[in-house]
Amino acid sequence: MDAHAGTLDPHAHAGADHHEIEIPYTVHSRPDTGVYNGKLGIWLFLASEVMLFGALFSTLILLRTSAPNWPRGQDILNVPLATLNTFVLIASSVTVVLAWANFRLGNLKKGKLWLFVTLLCGFGFMIIKSIEYTTKISHHLVPATNNFYATYYVMTGLHGLHVLGGMIVFAYLILTANKWYGEKREQFTNRVEVTGLYWHFVDLVWIFLFPILYLL
């Protein structure tokens, strides 16, 4: 927009118009708010996610406190596998930061490598999760069994969908990295950053889910 601010010529706008008009602060931070649009957008989205999972955690607390007996997670769930999964997911939070830092520093190859490692971590998490699921289902322990399993499946299932969503974005970023990094380096790095923020949130949800479902 700033580029056109000094002219009355409508063609400056009309020219760009038919493809994409230029939205201010898409890439650079607005001085008085200190963020670019995408970053504020992802924080707001995460705020709504907090409300979504907050409602589910509240549901769990309410159902558990009002239940005459509620199984302890460590007695019936696979704690070692879930512990391993916790480490896998925390590791992926580190690798996504490494990817972003390398893109910032101009190391396209290393950045892509770390993105790929992050994607692999997500994949590993989903594999381990599906092993847990299939074991339980083969023992006929399904959501309809009781409210413990109902909350377990819904909360970890919704979390798993979030992991899957993150993986799709990582795959997209890896596939388009060369093109985007060449043309719009800063914008691409920003994309990695906001995806990373989302990924940290997905981790954080698991950090809450793990003790509440498996340990307590």
């Binding site: 927009m1 700033d2 056109h4 601010a5 000094g6 002219t7 009355l8 010529d9 409508p10 063609h11 706008h13 009309a14 760009a16 118009d17 038919h18 994409e20 008009i21 230029e22 939205i23 201010p24 602060y25 898409t26 607005r30 708010t33 963020v35 670019y36 649009n37 504020l40 957008g41 707001l44 989205f45 705020a47 709504s48 996610e49 409300m51 979504l52 999972f53 907050g54 409602a55 589910l56 549901t59 309410l62 159902l63 009002s66 239940a67 399904v142 959501p143 309809a144 069994t145 009781n146 409210n147 109902a150 909350t151 819904v154 919704l158």
Partner: protein, 633 residues
């Protein structure tokens, strides 16, 4: 000679008149070029999957007005049955409804329940909110803050394309076996969990609508924070923009718990879980085979955690529209702008801690009731502040009784009735008597129908010239206004009488089989006839709307002599995409009307102060009129 007022255009200084002329000339040339070169965009990308906030706003507007009419028609069918229980419909309506819904022309109770649930759902989620936020917000917010578009145009498009399929999915439930959802718009379990398949469609539709509103609200907040024009500080924002900002926060934070609740109910219905299903439930004489241990009240908490802030989502944009219309038509600044903003923000916060006042009769305990009763009384304070500020704004103004202003003036007492009748419902003791009676229906319809919907009408008449470059017919507008005002009161005022007499809101026959309803039963006929006449009163509006698009009187860009950016810094209708030929700069607050010493009675936000010295341009003098336009183009 008085000093000439000057405007900076790029790095040129020129008289306001010249700048205006240059701008219009530039736009005329642009339009000519566009039509000469043919459309640069395909029909699909321009009109179907458009990313221009203005066109998306129009899409939202047309769709939501259609749903508004559909929701209204559902209510008319119900009102016919309530006034004359068991009387067959006229043949053509009976044929339209089909034998499965109205055998022999007489509406089945099951179908009445479907209409009841769908009237609420359609009106709240498919008509009013998309109209208030999707249409008005989308079209006006970027223009009012001097932005070229929303911050995320593609998300904006996606938001509409989640809303429309969500709406169509909801409506499609009428055509499946068992018909539409029939557990009320609140979908309380256990009833909703054991209900017909329509309820599953309702849940899936809601998930689409929630996603749509999430995309929209993120977009609005980012746009308002990030894309404000230079000089447009938060306390210079028009109150309409503030209202949209607060509304977006409510949508952002209140809808996700309903999404969670919808997922849980879907699991209960499809996955056989028992989140909302208590143990030992017996349905039709047979024990229900579920694991049990769930809690039906949990749904109510999650639902009302959304649905109470939703009430403010319904009313805040309306208040924003009314503020703009009142300031413009009294020709003076709004009284207490800061109080309005403060009250609006406080209202937003408080709306998250009042939800359980819908649940006083669920047996949740007196301590919790006392808490929510207190917060409910507190939240009435900011509403009163807003209404009072708008009322005092009229004082000493030279009021122009335009059609939008008539609707705005009617909004004040109508919303007042709606708000004041809410107080007894917010007090737990009084609510014991009034809960689930027609009193409740009367209360919230006064807030939403002659409240919000009147505000929407005011907005449509007010911004119609902005969108089309033409004005709606004044005489037809007044006919529409007076008809609507009289008959809408005819519909809703008797509901208070029925409610105080204890008539339940959910009766298929309108209370005919209850002795205590006998003395007030005759009001059913009066209300229904008023409702049919209310439909008749909308005919001039519908005609006027389409007629004026084609044949309305052409008007100048700033037809109402308004101060806010959407009128003063761009033409009507605005540029195809990008909104502003020149990025506007804001110099003052939004309501600088009748400024002493100013030559006109309005002082646009984007007009520099007269005292600002014009920098010496080459040649030292002003360009002759028209010269700039020719030179630049």
């Amino acid at each position: 000679m008085p000093p000439q007022r000057q405007i900076r255009v790029g790095n040129q200084w020129m008289r306001a008149k010249d700048a205006q002329r240059a701008l219009e000339e530039a736009l005329r040339v642009q339009r000519e070029e566009e039509s000469a070169h043919g459309p640069h965009q395909s029909f699909i990308s321009k009109y179907v999957f458009s990313i221009d906030h203005k066109w998306i706003g129009i899409q939202y507007g047309i769709t939501s007005l259609t749903f508004l009419l559909i929701g209204f028609s559902m209510m008319l069918l119900m009102r016919y049955q309530l006034a004359w229980p068991g009387k067959p419909f006229p043949m053509w309506i009976a044929n339209f409804l089909g034998a499965s819904n109205a055998p022999g022309g007489v509406m089945l109770p099951e179908f009445y329940n479907q209409l009841g649930a769908m009237h609420g759902t359609v009106m709240v989620f498919l008509a009013i909110v998309p109209l208030a936020v999707g249409a008005f917000g989308n079209y006006l917010v970027p223009l009012m803050i001097g932005a070229p578009d929303m911050a995320f145009p593609k998300l904006n498009m996606m938001s509409y394309w989640m809303y429309l399929p969500g709406g169509l999915l909801m409506m499609s439930s009428f055509f499946i076996p068992g018909g539409a959802p029939n557990s009320g718009w609140t979908s309380y379990p256990p009833l909703s969990v054991i209900a017909t398949h329509g309820q599953t469609i309702w849940i899936l539709g809601m998930i689409l609508l929630i996603t749509s509103s999430l995309l929209g609200s993120v977009n609005f907040i980012v746009t308002i924070f990030q894309l404000r024009a230079k000089g447009l500080t938060f306390m210079r924002l028009p109150f309409f923009v503030w209202a949209q900002l607060i509304t977006s926060f409510l949508l952002l934070l209140a809808f996700p718990p309903l999404e969670a609740a919808a997922i849980l109910q879907l699991m209960d219905r499809v996955g056989g879980t028992s989140f909302f299903m208590p143990s030992g439930l017996v349905v039709s004489g047979a024990p229900l085979e579920v694991a049990g241990g769930g809690n039906p009240l949990l749904w109510q908490h999650l639902f009302w955690f959304l649905a109470h802030p939703e009430v403010y989502v319904l009313i805040l944009p309306g208040m924003g529209i009314i503020s703009e219309v009142i300031a413009n038509n009294t020709r003076k600044p709004l009284w207490g702008y800061k109080s309005l903003v403060g009250a609006g923000v406080f209202l937003g916060f408080m709306s998250f801690v009042v939800w359980a006042h819908h649940m006083f009769l669920t047996g949740m305990g007196t301590a919790i009731s006392a808490f929510f009763q207190t917060t409910t009384m507190i939240i009435s304070i900011p509403s009163v502040i807003i209404l009072t500020a708008l009322l005092i704004s009229l004082w000493g103004g030279s009021i122009r009784f335009t059609v939008p202003m008539l609707f705005a003036l009617a909004f004040l007492p109508m919303f007042g009735i709606g708000g004041l009748t809410g107080l007894p419902l917010g007090l737990a003791a009084a609510d014991i008597h009034l809960h689930d009676t027609y009193y409740v229906i009367g209360h919230f319809h006064y807030v939403v129908a002659p409240g919000t919907i009147f505000a929407m009408f005011a907005g449509i008449y007010y911004w119609f010239p902005k969108v089309t470059g033409r004005q709606m017919n004044e005489k037809l507008g007044k006919l529409h206004f007076w008809g609507s005002l009289i008959f809408i009161n005819g519909v809703f005022a008797p509901m208070f009488i029925q409610g105080l007499a204890g008539v339940s809101r959910r009766l298929y026959d309108g209370g005919a089989q209850y002795v205590h309803a006998k003395p007030v039963l005759h009001t059913n006929v009066f209300m229904s006839i008023s409702a049919f006449l209310l439909l008749a009163a909308q005919v001039p509006f519908i005609f006027n709307f389409f007629y004026s698009i084609a044949k309305g009187r052409r008007v100048t860009s700033n037809v109402w002599d308004a101060t806010t950016l959407e009128w003063s810094a761009t033409t009507s209708p605005p540029l195809a995409h990008g909104n502003f030929a020149v990025a506007p700069v804001v110099y003052r607050g939004p309501y600088e009307y009748s400024v002493p010493g100013h030559p006109t009675d309005f002082f646009p936000q984007s007009e520099p102060d007269e005292t600002l010295p014009a920098p010496a341009t080459t040649g030292g003098g002003l360009l002759p009129a028209g010269a700039v336009a020719q030179k630049e183009i």
